[in-house]
């Protein structure tokens, strides 16, 4: 049975009063939801908390799910709204981000920053983007570059999403310029030492 069909079957059972059927939905979706929340905050405890809230909201709203969109689109949209509301209410997590500043204080040179640290700094830099670009980028890559599905979850036309992705990547490149080992700023700071 396909995952979509399993979700639909479990939804029908929960609506019919079989509470235990919701466990199937939890088990199938927990990893995806925790991962999505993690990408929005880069904090494990907060991510699990958000994912639990998403699943509870899903449970409360199951009766209103009419199957007009796929269950996956619906639950991802709930997750997006939950992450958005949380971050608006609690503010962005404090990020040891600003890569230039962080790495300037390192005793090692920029060239020694390994690929993993650089990648993590770039991912955290995404969280400093304005909301519309941040959500577009996070969701697009979370959905494995499925433009149509990302646009459906965000509730915007594909063209709008493309424009946001383009602008978001430009901003990101500017913010991550110092992470490039050959960037002029990097070379200058390295030479100072």
């Amino acid at each position: 049975m396909r995952e979509d069909d399993q979700d639909a079957a479990d939804v029908a059972r929960v609506i019919a009063g079989d509470l235990n059927a919701f466990e199937g939905i939890v088990l199938r979706w927990q990893c995806r939801l925790v991962t999505m929340a993690w990408r929005f905050c880069r904090d494990r405890a907060a991510a699990e908390d958000m994912a639990q809230e998403v699943l509870l909201k899903t449970f409360r709203s199951l009766a209103t799910f009419r199957g007009e969109s796929a269950f996956s689109t619906w639950i991802t949209a709930i997750a997006l709204n939950t992450c958005r509301s949380r971050l608006r209410a609690e503010g962005q997590p404090l990020l040891s981000l600003d890569p230039a500043r962080v790495f300037r204080n390192e005793s090692s040179s920029f060239r020694e920053i390994d690929e993993r640290e650089r990648a993590e700094a770039v991912r955290r830099a995404v969280l400093t983007l304005p909301e519309r670009y941040r959500e577009a980028i996070l969701l697009y890559y979370f959905e494995e570059k499925d433009l149509a599905e990302s646009a459906r979850v965000l509730g915007v036309p594909e063209g709008t999403l493309k424009a946001r992705l383009h602008r978001g990547r430009e901003l990101l490149r500017a913010r991550c310029a110092n992470l490039d080992p050959l960037a002029p700023d990097v070379v200058a700071v390295t030479e100072e030492r």
């Binding site: 927990q30 990893c31 925790v34 991962t35 449970f59 770039v122 890559y141 494995e144 990547r169």
Partner: protein, 109 residues
Amino acid sequence: MTQDNLDRILSSDDVLEPSSGFAGNVMEAVRRQAAAPATPAFPWVRFALGLAASCGMAATGGLFVLRFQTELVAAFSPLAAVVPELGYAAAASLVGLAFISLPRLFSRD
């Protein structure tokens, strides 16, 4: 940083496994929620009745004022002679009071 580098980094972000008790905690919260008494639904029928009655009353009042404008002015003329706006203010207050009491009347159990 090139566009390709950005794309590669963002495409290869980690997948996070939830902690071992996560699903159990969620199901416990779901069961608690299912056991809790349901919150009372919004009384849409009463709300609609109240709204319809208020609209009807407003329309009737408006027509009444338009039709009997002269008589109304004449009725309030003793007051109007003293303070011209007083008559209108009193009438508006009475109409306002009637509007306030109407929803209360409908929402009474």
